[in-house]
Symmetry: C2
């Protein structure tokens, strides 16, 4: 097959706020081949900045856009995906945004290969790596923002329990902004709102920057509520501070990694930051293969791999394929309060099964279908003119 | 003062090729204040992708564009530059391209503060860090591409000697692409074309990826020509491979760092990669302050700091201010074969003084003036429309 079209689509809700809700907009990437097979992927990245990486004029041999690297290329099997990824990243060596932008395309390439070979992506990865191809269920945890107050947080927690969640992560919002007492009250409210046998995670939203002493104090203070982890207490690349924090062995394990834009950033956090849970977004790190490589590193180092997913179930599908075959990596971030856009994006969102678990689809490719009709109303027209040239305009959905 | 305008300008030559020549286009950033003082900075980055970071619509609280973060802000002293940098990077936490794009603005902010306080930037940095404010001359090395053949390389080398250069770096082109014999012939030709008492550097242009064994073999083979360093033999984030290479103690020291998009990437290369020269581009790492922080780390670790500059003398000025006050860091990358655009960009390019050295200007701010008339003909109109909104169109130069 030959790649004939590589089209990013900017979708968004009518009103976008500063809330730390990643589902207010999104960037979908569709790739088409001359054999009529198409694939889809989703980036967790600025849509406009990422679109520019698909169409920017060449600056020299290290700044060549993604479309130029992909269109006309041969795509027949997993090796072609690896070869094309190497080409895209080499051609985009001096484009800092290259991994964020390419993530959607890389996922779309795997979707195509899976459809062509009639296999789910997790099975292709198992074959390539010589590991088990048996998929295991994951325990979904609802990923929500703290309420503005402890009371608001309590109500969110009880609501999640009523929806049947057995695990939930509360994050961002007021956490870390109004002192220790309020931080503890927020976590207590989340804990009291959930049933006692549920799992609770806390996401501090990088609020303490490089201040690992405060992060340590909070981890110790939160231990009474037995959270599974304290996530991103520090800035994404404050590796030394993470190292200092984890060296103090807080009773609540530390999680981080969603800000990993490259494999090396994740490796740095695991090896030098000493984190116990590594959270990878396939829509940021460059797609499925670099995420799978982090999974393999996590297996070697005794770190637990978890997905970071704050977009639609298209992203959730790509996340699941990466670690479906490892039964020990049993937690799944499952966005529970996403925008209407994110909820309507695929026709077949993942159900929580009667046993409370989520399973990867044993279908070719990603195993989910984009609902192009439903998302049409969220499509944002983008036109970019450089000199006399129109370097970008929307394709038809 | 209040910031009233933040304007990126895309400039380029009529014909852009795949050659590893970073001067074929550029992105200038101009910032204006209500006091009538304006500052300039230059990014070494994809112009279009970086422009998108100045104007992209908000996605949520972690994807807010640079203009929104800066316009209307107070700017009176160095502390404001640090505060605004923190704000821009925090608001752009989930924009991978943020450092590349912001670099030009950060440099422009320093330029403004220097002009306001009537001090060169190197003196402001000295005051902030409590270190010497005496500037020292640098030995410029011409930075050129290898010829396609050893013969071509020899002629380039003799030409540089005739121009008076006492040091030169040859890079990219055929290096590493046609086997050991050709690689050695290229370096021999460069050495033979230069006078015997000149300094020679070799830039392998990331050609051996993660293959540190080949990089080591070449470093050993090149030792007979006594190069000052072998630069970027490996991929920018192949830190483990750099560590393995430098642990073998090749007789030619290893240099790297131009691909550092963040302070952490540079730190990672120095601490875990074991490099002996760290090469930082103020136009990529986020501007002058993070570069200065790498300089300080280099001082602590016994690594030599060198600028990476493959743009105009506006970039060269920002590079010089960072390490002018350290007499041990005595080498200066000095683009010697840049495009007409890069040569005309400032009115007062840095001369090589009769003693063969280059000195930072002891003038307010950056100490160089953009030639807005000369560059008008290179200006590329950019228009970006998102939905019903024009999010970007060129300001007047």
């Amino acid at each position: 097959m030959k790649i004939v079209a590589v089209d990013p689509f900017y979708l968004r809700m009518p009103d976008v706020t500063t809330a730390a809700d990643g589902t207010q907009d999104t960037l979908l990437v569709r790739i088409r081949t001359d054999a009529g097979i198409e694939g889809w992927g989703e980036c967790d990245a600025s849509p406009l900045v990422s679109i520019a990486v698909y169409c920017c004029p060449m600056s020299h041999g290290n700044i060549i856009n993604i479309r130029t690297s992909l269109i006309g290329e041969t795509l027949d099997g997993p090796d072609d995906v690896l070869r094309l990824s190497e080409k895209v990243l080499r051609n985009g060596l001096d484009i800092q945004q290259i991994q964020h932008a390419y993530s959607g395309a890389e996922i779309a390439l795997w979707d195509i290969i899976g459809k062509k070979l009639d296999k789910p992506i997790f099975r292709l990865l198992a074959e390539m790596s010589g590991t088990s191809d048996i998929a295991h269920p994951k325990r979904p945890y609802a990923s929500v923002l703290f309420g503005d107050t402890p009371e608001g947080t309590y109500h969110i927690a009880t609501g999640l329990c009523e929806q049947g969640y057995r695990a939930a992560k509360f994050g961002w919002g007021p956490m870390g902004k109004f002192g220790e007492e309020n931080d503890i009250a927020l976590v207590r409210a989340a804990r009291e709102g959930m049933d006692s046998d549920t799992q609770l995670m806390i996401d501090a939203g990088v609020v303490w920057g490089t201040d690992y002493e405060t992060a340590y104090k909070r981890a110790e203070a939160f231990a009474q509520f037995s959270p599974t982890w304290l996530e991103e207490p520090l800035a994404p690349d404050a590796i030394d501070a993470y190292g200092s924090l984890t060296a103090k062995n807080p009773r609540v394990p530390i999680a981080a990694g969603e800000g990993s834009n490259t494999y090396r950033m994740a490796e740095d956090l695991i090896v030098h930051g000493g984190i116990r849970f590594v959270q990878i977004d396939t829509g940021r790190i460059g797609g499925i293969m670099p995420s799978f490589q982090v999974r393999q590193l996590a297996e070697q180092r005794g770190t637990q791999y978890v997905n970071h997913t704050f977009k639609s179930h298209l992203s959730l599908a790509s996340a699941l394929h990466v670690f479906a075959t490892n039964p020990d990596f049993n937690l799944l971030e499952f966005p529970a309060a996403g925008s209407e856009l994110s909820q309507r994006l695929v026709k077949d969102p993942f159900p929580v099964d009667p046993d409370g678990m989520v399973r990867v689809n044993d279908l070719p490719g990603l195993g989910v279908q984009v609902d192009t009709e439903a998302i049409c109303s969220y499509l944002v027209p983008v036109n970019i003119h450089v000199g006399a040239e129109t370097v970008f305009q929307n394709a038809f959905l």
